[in-house]
Amino acid sequence: MQTDLTFSRPMRLLFLLPLLVVFAAFWLLPMGALLRISTGEHGGAYLALLHSPRYLQSLISTVLLSLAVTAVTIVLSLVAGLFLSRRAFPGRQLLIAALTLPLAFPGVVVGFMVIMLAGRQGVFSDLTQAITGTRSVFAYSMTGLFLGYLYFSIPRVVLTVMAAAEKLDASLEEAARSLGARDWEVLRDVTLPALAPALLATGAMCFATSMGAFGTAFTLATDIDVLPMVIYTEFTLNANMLTAAALSLVLGAVTWTVLSLAHTAGAQSAAPSA
């Protein structure tokens, strides 16, 4: 490797030093301390997790919920993202703006949006009252949480799909079509494989965010048994630091594993085409 004449190695280290200090002092060392606490009593906390149906159940339902959110978000965002990136029509910019409006909403606000939709004074409640005579309220349940995570994820995934679709070489699709491929064949054999790396990355992010999201669940109901809520209850109400530490490390390990698997797979699938 040729040496950098204008930015020497000692200087680079000096420039990185503040980052290293801040990161070590306020993340790496604290995480080490958390790990040490969780493995105290010969890893008893982790063994207890395995033997507790409640913790396992909450882990499973969190994973299932996050998988469902990821799948539905990807399908919907593919439909909308491909539609918006392929067609020019009046109002298109407005639709894009509307779909990306919630990008900066934190989880608590998203929870409140679900309450506005499906809560006691929400749209669905009023609609079902008018049509069937009984009020339908489902904000404060797993369904509400599902809607909330969908609300949170759609803007991010739509943006990714649109960005990936715009980079796509349109001549590939035209070639497939001129060779007689039908629309769905073009979609299956050309468009989707080309979008796959982007979808994989954004899907993994969507899954990881849903696994760890806390604000939405906190706003909707404290008795929904998703993992972040269980960690929170163990920590504040039961003052059970050992279990809270072990559970949050398990949660962190799951999200990190999914993200790095997607990263590795994405790098591999991108390599042959490049």
């Binding site: 004449l5 204008t6 930015f7 200087m11 420039f15 990185l16 503040p18 980052l19 290293l20 801040v22 990161f23 306020f26 993340w27 790496l28 995480m31 301390a33 606490i37 919907l76 439909v79 909308a80 639709l95 509307a98 779909l99 990306t100 409006l101 900066a104 934190p106 989880g107 608590v108 606000v109 409140f112 679900v114 506005m116 939709l117 004074q121 749209v123 969908l150 609300y151 759609i154 803007p155 629309d183 990881a208 760890g212 999201a213 806390f214 604000g215 906190f218 706003t219 972040p228 960690i231 929170y232 920590f235 630091m241 530490a245 949050s248 949660l251 962190g252 999200t255 990190w256 993200l259």
Partner: protein, 274 residues
């Protein structure tokens, strides 16, 4: 058949837009409605907004201060680090980049617990707003660093710097008159991201805050849980008024840099062909 599919795509896209936008509009309306249960016909009023301001202006002000402090630290720590990382393409730098995004990849709950375990007993630190700032810095730093690294790689600083060096500019002269002006759009985009994320951050903040260090989203969660719908809505309205301009500026800032980069690569292609 083709027309039907297009229409279906349009309908799904429109339904998604409604899903995202209707609750936003409803909560904005509810925030200025006298009695939401009786609809907007009960009259429009600003008294809920006023009441929110009286109850929560401290939390809103603190959030702005925390966001500014977080921004100052991420600028001082993140800009030099992003610049240094863009010039060190060895394995150690890659490893550091991967390590640095861990606080984003794993749930905020785990990072917050870790900070509590390590520094919870330092009462003066734990009860000050700096405890929250530290959490926000750890969470937002990767966004600043990545934004700066990306722009450094995009504008061929090395050649520019070699030019300046050959004319006798010292390292610090080059850093302040060549590097910083050239990467300004990246710093600006990173700064807006940091401020937006910090103002809306809840997952970490809820665990790190104390009754005297309530932030805007913590106050939101409090209002959603214990106040009437109109108050929660009026508070959300104030949040929207603060965050939507930030997001709009962010999107307009990141778009031109993308175009510039596109032009630059085009120019590079032309250079190669010429």
């Amino acid at each position: 058949m083709k027309k039907f599919l297009t229409a279906l795509q349009l309908v799904i896209t429109l339904l998604m837009v409604l899903f995202l936008v209707v609750p936003v509009l409803m909560s904005m309306l509810a925030g200025v409605t006298d009695n939401y249960a009786h609809g907007w016909r009960s009259g429009l009023t600003l008294r809920w907004v006023q009441q929110v301001w009286e109850l929560y202006h401290g939390a809103i002000g603190l959030s702005i201060l925390i966001a500014l402090a977080t921004l100052a630290i991420t600028l001082v720590v993140g800009v030099p680090a992003g610049y240094a990382l863009s010039r060190s393409r060895n394995r150690l730098a890659r490893w550091l980049e991967g390590l640095m995004v861990l606080p984003v990849a794993i749930p905020g709950l785990a990072s917050a617990l870790a900070l509590l375990v390590m520094y919870g007993s330092l009462t003066a630190f734990r009860t000050s707003a700096w405890f929250i700032v530290v959490g926000h810095v750890i969470f937002t730093l990767p966004f600043m660093v990545r934004s700066v690294t990306a722009i450094c790689l995009g504008c061929d600083l090395k050649t520019l710097e070699e030019g300046a060096a050959s004319l006798g500019a010292t390292f610090w002269q080059r850093f302040t008159t060549v590097v910083l002006p050239n990467i300004r759009p990246g710093i600006l985009a990173g700064a807006l991201t940091v401020v937006t994320l910090s103002i809306g951050e809840f997952n970490l903040t809820w665990m790190l805050h104390t009754p005297t260090t309530q932030t805007l989203p913590v106050g939101l969660a409090d209002a959603y849980a214990s106040m009437r719908l109109e108050i929660g809505s009026a508070y959300t309205l104030i949040f929207f008024v603060m965050i939507v301009p930030l997001l709009t500026v962010l999107q307009s800032v990141s778009k031109p840099t993308g175009q510039q980069r596109g032009q630059r690569t085009n120019r590079m292609k032309q250079d190669q062909t010429a």
